[in-house]
């Protein structure tokens, strides 16, 4: 273990821990914009700078490994000034449209502007104008709001292994871009949307939907597959308006395209809410209760097996069930109905 002192408090951390992690262990709040504990440190936003005794200049705590005997200061007049300048610079090239931004209330930059009390901006100047609209079904890319934290590029590369976006241009013109600047054409997992600290990347499905007023958050489990990712549904009234996932879940906040964007079926008129039984060939489906439906199926199985033997029936289960459910299903067929005719959609 390494022992260091941060803001007058001693802390012991394992080798390989960063100064930022050590500070967080002590409950010290260090501002960050480009950091995500799930990704490799990047050191771009320069907000998590700290002063370390013996070092001539402030260093980013997210990239600096803790060493034995290190004495760290996370707050000082100098650090405050540098951080404030950084936030002010970011705001000098950012549309001031929080009123109509779908990330308002969920935006790190907005929060920093508030914390540093930036009303007037000393650095008013040219602002970028990325007027190109990206025509894709799921993600709204508003590059004027991009702070170049690189989280989207890194999550796409490091977590998703896709690399659908990268950087181009230099200096003030530097930007995150798709190959050749074409419309985004990826698997639309939306991981980039989930890590974007501003309104640069948002989900088109929740654009124009309530942001906080009357919004209820409910933790639940995604039903799309056996993984059972933890998700949080944002609902307004009886409608699901957005799906998100917290980073401390077992799935670390990562979701796939279905889990993140495939929720509209919940409020669909075509959604089945009761079992349906077609009693005769060519007859329409009739609504039934679960008891009726299960009795009907059990009765049919029994009669078919009596007439044609136990292998005359087969069961197909779903990847949307959990492992436990799939186990029970095959058990029902093998032990209960006496047949090995059991399969699973994910085998196809």
């Amino acid at each position: 273990m390494l022992n260091l002192n941060i803001d007058g408090k001693d802390v012991s951390v394992a080798k390989g821990t960063t100064v930022l992690e050590a500070a967080q262990k002590l409950g010290i709040d260090v501002p960050t914009l480009c950091h995500d504990a799930r990704l490799k440190p990047f050191g771009a936003c320069r907000l998590c700078i700290v002063e370390i005794a013996g070092m001539p200049k402030p260093v980013t705590s997210c990239t600096t490994p803790a060493t034995e005997g290190m004495v760290v200061k996370t707050n000082s007049e100098r650090l405050y000034r540098l951080r404030k300048t950084t936030v002010e610079l970011l705001l000098s090239d950012h549309p001031n449209d929080c009123m109509v931004c779908s990330s308002s209330g969920d935006c790190t930059l907005q929060e920093l502007a508030y914390l540093y009390g930036i009303r007037e901006n000393r650095f008013v100047g040219e602002v970028r104008d990325h007027s190109r609209i990206d025509h894709n079904p799921f993600i709204i890319r508003d590059q004027n709001k991009c702070v170049m934290c690189g989280l989207c590029v890194r999550v796409c590369d490091e977590v998703q292994g896709v690399g659908a976006i990268g950087y181009s241009e230099r200096g003030f013109e530097a930007k995150v871009i798709t190959p050749f600047g074409h419309d985004l054409d990826c698997e639309f997992c939306g991981q980039c949307v989930s890590v974007c600290p501003t309104g640069a990347l948002t989900g088109s499905l929740w654009s124009g939907k309530p942001r906080s007023e009357g919004v209820v958050k409910t933790d639940t489990t995604c039903t799309y597959c056996g993984c059972g990712c933890n998700i949080t549904l944002r609902t307004h009234g009886d409608k699901v308006i957005r799906v998100e996932s917290a980073s401390d879940n077992h799935n670390r906040g990562w979701l796939c395209v279905k889990g993140r964007f495939g929720y509209e079926f919940i409020n669909s008129n075509e959604r089945l809410t009761t079992p349906l039984i077609r009693k005769e060939k060519g007859a329409p489906f009739e609504k039934a209760t679960w008891e009726e439906a299960l009795d009907y199926v059990a009765g049919k199985f029994t009669s078919l097996q009596q007439q044609h033997g136990s292998d005359s029936v087969a069961g197909l289960c779903s990847a949307r069930c959990t492992n436990e459910e799939n186990y029970l299903f095959q058990k029902l067929f093998r032990a209960g109905l006496g047949t090995n005719n059991v399969d699973h959609c994910a085998r196809y």
Binding site: A44, R46, K57
Partner: protein, 593 residues
């Protein structure tokens, strides 16, 4: 009687641009022709290319040596070759009016040449020429008689510091790298010279590529690297070609490849072309670029010496650092440490440019006062104007004013006045240079070359540039100087890499030494050096104007009127201060105030 004739034509990029290749061709043709008349001369004459010898302003430079007596000619063009061959080569009568003058010798005699020693003397396209001047002897000695630890110790003792700009002691860095336990080590030569006006590394690669390669072999052996890379920018086509040729020749001689000099040591050197990003001179960005990533710097630590290319311990040194090594290993650490100043040993190659008589490439012992460089080697200010400042260290350096003219040029000296050694650029400025404009010029460069990764550099340099532009256009406000200073300090203190940390230097140093010029721009709306057009009023001196109409045709807003052969006038309510009339007038009748 057999007379030995050697003709050397300067064929670095500068020499070729001035017509060196055509001069070379003319010599070949003349020799072929003269061969009929005087076979003896041709038989014993040699004609070869040499790299840059430094005095680029006088190109094409040609050395003619007859029986060992060398004469140097300047400004040679192809049509002059016939006479040189007939009079000098054959007739042994040098053409005195074309010979270089005393200033050529003052330029060279005040220098101490180690790295540039063989430039201009040997043919860079022939490994035998390099071997003739003891080339690869140091590498052979190192590999066959010394241990890696001894090599590192020698380099440490010599006091050699990184010539790329950082000035970190080379031997110490090697020691850090060698101390890692790894299955692979890499050595990289940084030839990604990107400062505007700098051509030190290019000249060395063009003029003596084997010295750099030999340095790399020595470094590779010291740290245990079996793979090396030369990262060189693609805009240096001649240097790239000569480098490839040199690597091929070295491999054929057994100086590269497997079992070097009969030992068990192997070294393969690969060439990686850079696409011209200034930031790729920063070592972590350079590594990212070799790995195929976008050239963006990474945070240090980990330092490349511990975790560099492909995550393995890596040493990056620049061309000049490597080119020093064969000399240090040949002549010993004590010899090298005796040259230079207390903490900066050896020599420094400098690209001397700007408002100076003798522009070119020079090599001085560390610690030489600025004054000697500018007024002895450089021959003083062009046109006898007044010296104002000297900008050192490229776009990231600072401007040093008259009051520090006695400053010793070494790492400590330059840093003490808010500038830096950098890779060795030196731009001399005179009284006609506006310091606010100079500062703007360098910010334009660093701003557009920022990789865009970190906020202070991406946006801070942009805002600095905007404020400077505002001031030079007469829109400066009370408080702008203080704002510039604050922002410059914040960018310097919070940027990720050397580019952002040093980009504010031109702003800070010009405010420090030339604050009055900023104030004149902001308060009096005047540019004292008469450079910033938006702050000037243009008018035509009636007694000087001949009415040629050149200014009228140059004016894009029809602000100039006048009859033919009658003095013209400028309507200042229409004038947009573009300065076209000033440039167009051949009679100095257009004035700006």
């Amino acid at each position: 009687m057999n007379s030995e004739i050697v003709v050397s034509v300067c064929m670095g990029t500068g020499g070729i641009a001035a017509g060196g290749d055509m001069v070379m061709k003319a010599f070949q043709e003349e020799f072929a022709e003269a061969g009929v008349a005087n076979a003896t001369v041709v038989e014993h004459s040699r004609l070869h290319k040499v790299g840059c010898r430094g005095f680029c302003a006088r190109d094409v430079l040609v050395d003619i040596s007859v029986n060992g007596i060398v004469s140097t000619y300047q400004y040679i063009q192809p049509d002059m070759v016939k006479r040189l061959v007939s009079d000098h080569c054959i007739g042994a009568r040098p053409v005195s009016e074309w010979l270089v003058g005393d200033d050529y010798h003052t330029f060279h005699d005040n220098q101490t040449k180690i790295v540039l020693g063989d430039l201009g003397k040997i043919d860079p396209e022939s490994i035998d020429e390099y071997i003739r001047v003891d080339g690869y002897k140091a590498a052979e000695k190192v590999l066959t008689t010394m241990t890696p630890a001894e090599v590192i110790e020698t380099v440490k003792k010599s006091g050699l510091r990184g010539r790329g700009g950082g000035g970190f002691p080379t031997g110490v860095k090697w020691g850090f790298c060698a101390a890692n336990d790894s299955d692979q080590y890499y050595i990289i030569c940084n030839a990604d010279e990107g400062d505007p006006g700098a051509f030190m590394d290019r000249s060395v690669v063009e003029g003596n590529p084997h010295a750099m390669i030999e340095g790399m072999i020595i470094g590779a052996y010291a740290i245990g690297a079996t793979v090396g890379y030369v990262y060189i920018r693609a805009e240096y086509p001649l240097a790239v070609d000569r480098l490839h040729l040199a690597l091929k020749e070295a491999k054929e001689k057994g100086f590269l490849g497997e079992k070097l000099f009969g030992t068990d040591f192997n070294l393969k050197i690969k060439v990686k072309l850079g696409a011209g990003a200034f930031v790729c001179g920063e070592e972590t960005a350079l590594i990212a670029s070799i790995e195929g990533e976008r050239g963006m710097p990474r945070a240090k630590p980990p330092f490349p010496a511990n975790k560099g290319l492909w995550g393995k311990p890596t040493i990056i040194n620049n061309v000049e650092t490597f080119a020093n090594l064969p000399h240090i290993l040949n002549k010993g650490a004590d010899w090298y440490a005796a040259i230079g100043s207390a903490k900066s040993k050896g020599t420094k190659v400098i690209a001397l440019t700007g408002k100076i008589r003798n522009t070119g490439l020079i090599e001085i012992p560390m610690g030489m006062p600025l004054k000697e460089i500018i007024f002895n080697i450089g021959g003083g200010i062009e046109g006898d104007k007044l010296f104002k400042a000297v900008q050192t260290g490229g776009p990231s350096g600072g401007c040093i004013p008259q009051q520090h003219i006695d400053l010793p040029v070494d790492y400590e000296g330059l840093a003490s006045v808010g500038s830096m050694m950098g890779s060795g650029g030196m731009v001399v400025l005179d009284e006609t240079d506006c310091m606010v404009n100079i500062s703007k010029f360098f910010l334009e460069f660093t701003q557009s070359e920022s990789c865009g990764k970190c906020v202070p550099c991406r946006l801070g340099t942009k805002r600095l540039l905007e404020i400077l532009t505002r001031i030079t256009e007469g829109e400066g406000k009370e408080g702008d100087i203080e704002l510039l200073q604050e922002l410059a300090e914040d960018v310097r203190d919070s940027s990720l890499c050397g580019l952002g940390m040093s980009a504010p230097n031109p702003v800070l140093s010009t405010i420090k030494y030339f604050r009055h010029e900023y104030e004149a721009h902001i308060k009096q709306k005047k540019c004292p050096a008469k450079v910033c057009n938006k702050l000037l009023t243009f008018f035509i001196r009636q007694d000087m104007c001949v009415g040629c109409g050149m200014c009228m045709r140059a004016c894009s807003v029809n602000a100039i009127s006048g009859e033919k052969k009658q003095p013209h006038k400028i309507d200042n309510s229409l004038c947009i201060q573009c300065g076209s009339c000033f440039d167009a007038c051949k009679f100095s009748a257009v004035l700006k105030e």
